[in-house]
Subunit: 265 residues, 2 copies
DNA sequence: ATTGATCCGTTTGTCCGACAAACCGACTAT
DNA sequence: ATAGTCGGTTTGTCGGACAAACGGATCAAT
């Protein structure tokens, strides 16, 4: 992994960039600038392809290629396949992208486990500080459903994921939410087999979630962090009991459940 | 922010997706599958446009639109503007995207500050556990350069960013690296003014970095976390002294330093 | 009057064919 | 061996074209 190059290194580039970018990129950048600068607020319609052809004075094919780029980057979205509107990149899509990248880079379960340990303890700490009553209610409902699903591995895995997402929402911190989401997506695929192989996993999960809920109610940071650590450690132990080892790369088996970048959205 | 919908909810979708996706998306997905499944390893060339036209039996325009999508998502890269090759999405590009999204969603400095506090303490903790001698050397070199740049705000901001990136690299954990990078990019823009407005900021930064380095050398987790907390707190105080408040949204002033999604790469 | 069906212009997705410029590799001359 | 030339290849862009889907308006029916 290379280190991020600082945004601008004054010595290295003595001349202006000499490559006139292809027109479709110029189109994309022009529209992009209008959106990120706020001139086109989210929800506002971009013109039709014909409009853009007129405005930019380029061919329709060129406009279309530019649009594809923006569409892919999430800055424009289509309502009803007809209306192209400016849009804020959806966090779910971004997280999905990042997850996929992590898989392709073959990160190990150890990395995933360690990161989640850190991220989830951070999340619960901030959630303790910022949770509202609404957050608590949402989590309580999740606990309710979890109690009813103790014998359904698939449902349990979903509810576990949801629990941690709700905790993240309770932080009121979108930076941390977006930071932890990719890891959360990745671990989902490893969760379900645990409930199938390890009988005590389900009740332990419920117990931990309840303790975490309690800590959130009482705003007890230490307790919250401690239980989250145990909860994540439980996952680690359970994971090992499913026969895999921590140094395996996060694999590419569950593609279809992860790679829903296109589709319903 | 809405809650992440679980990867697959069995009740909701009873029928197959009925909309035959546009051909260019099918092209994109087909190639995407070949890449993520590993059939086309990174670096391997995709065919020319003419090849793809033949293989998919669609028009060249359609192929091109599909290619634009993949290019944008980072699964395809071009060597020499001629050769299209499969590629692993670069973490820098992903992080840039996420940063941009956070700006567009107008996250506040408070969110950014809290998240960084958590993420950086996590990073330093993992770095203490996993750092190699090479990591230490790289950080030592960064300290050296920092000592020489105490009176140059721009350079200091760059070196600070680099320091924390190096710590992240020292974790050996790419999940955490990718989780913290977007926040790191965002804070870079807020760092430089601090060195201009707050005289003691530079020496305090250096002192903190040196203490953190020490803690890494001695593998002292508690010390490392404590100093990181102080270091981040320093940033917070310095930030307030530049006249802004924590509840301002992270603003869109420094576009050009952030939005380098296209260009040199 | 509200509901339902029909019609027409618009917009998108796709195709075809074409051309200039840039690129690549081979070939030639020094 | 190096430099320069040349021709085929590939990309970027263009113009035009058409079917299908969509949206809105008009008209018919309850």
């Amino acid at each position: 992994m290379d280190i991020m190059t600082p945004p601008h290194s004054p010595e290295t580039d003595r001349f202006e960039r000499i490559s006139p970018l292809p027109a479709y990129q110029l189109v994309a950048e022009a529209i992009e600038r209008e959106i990120v600068s706020g001139h086109i607020p989210p929800g506002e319609p971009i013109g039709t392809e014909a409009d853009l052809v007129k405005q930019f004075g380029v061919n329709r094919s060129t406009v279309r290629e530019g649009i594809r780029c923006l569409e892919q980057s999430g800055l424009i979205r289509r309502e009803s396949s007809r209306r192209l509107v400016a849009s804020l990149p959806r966090q779910g899509k971004l997280a999905t992208r990042v997850s996929r990248a992590l898989i392709l880079h073959q990160v190990t379960f150890r990395e995933l486990y360690e990161a989640i340990d850190m991220l989830e303890r951070s999340a619960i700490e901030l959630a303790v500080a910022h949770r509202t009553d609404d957050d608590l209610q949402a989590i309580a409902r999740n606990l309710e459903r979890t109690r009813d699903a103790l014998s359904e591995p698939i449902r349990l895995a979903e509810l576990d994921t949801e629990f941690h997402s709700l905790v993240a929402v309770a932080t009121g911190n979108r930076v941390l939410q977006l930071a932890r989401e990719p890891a959360s997506l990745l671990i989902y695929t490893a969760t379900q087999p645990i409930f199938e192989h390890v009988p005590e996993a389900a009740p332990r999960l419920l117990a931990a979630h309840e303790k975490l809920y309690d800590a959130l109610v009482r705003r007890d940071v230490e307790d919250a962090r401690a239980w989250m650590r145990r909860h994540v450690a439980d996952f680690g132990k359970g994971f090992l009991r499913t026969g895999r080892t921590l140094d395996d790369p996060v694999d590419r088996i569950p593609f279809d459940s992860i790679f829903q970048t296109r589709g319903t959205s």
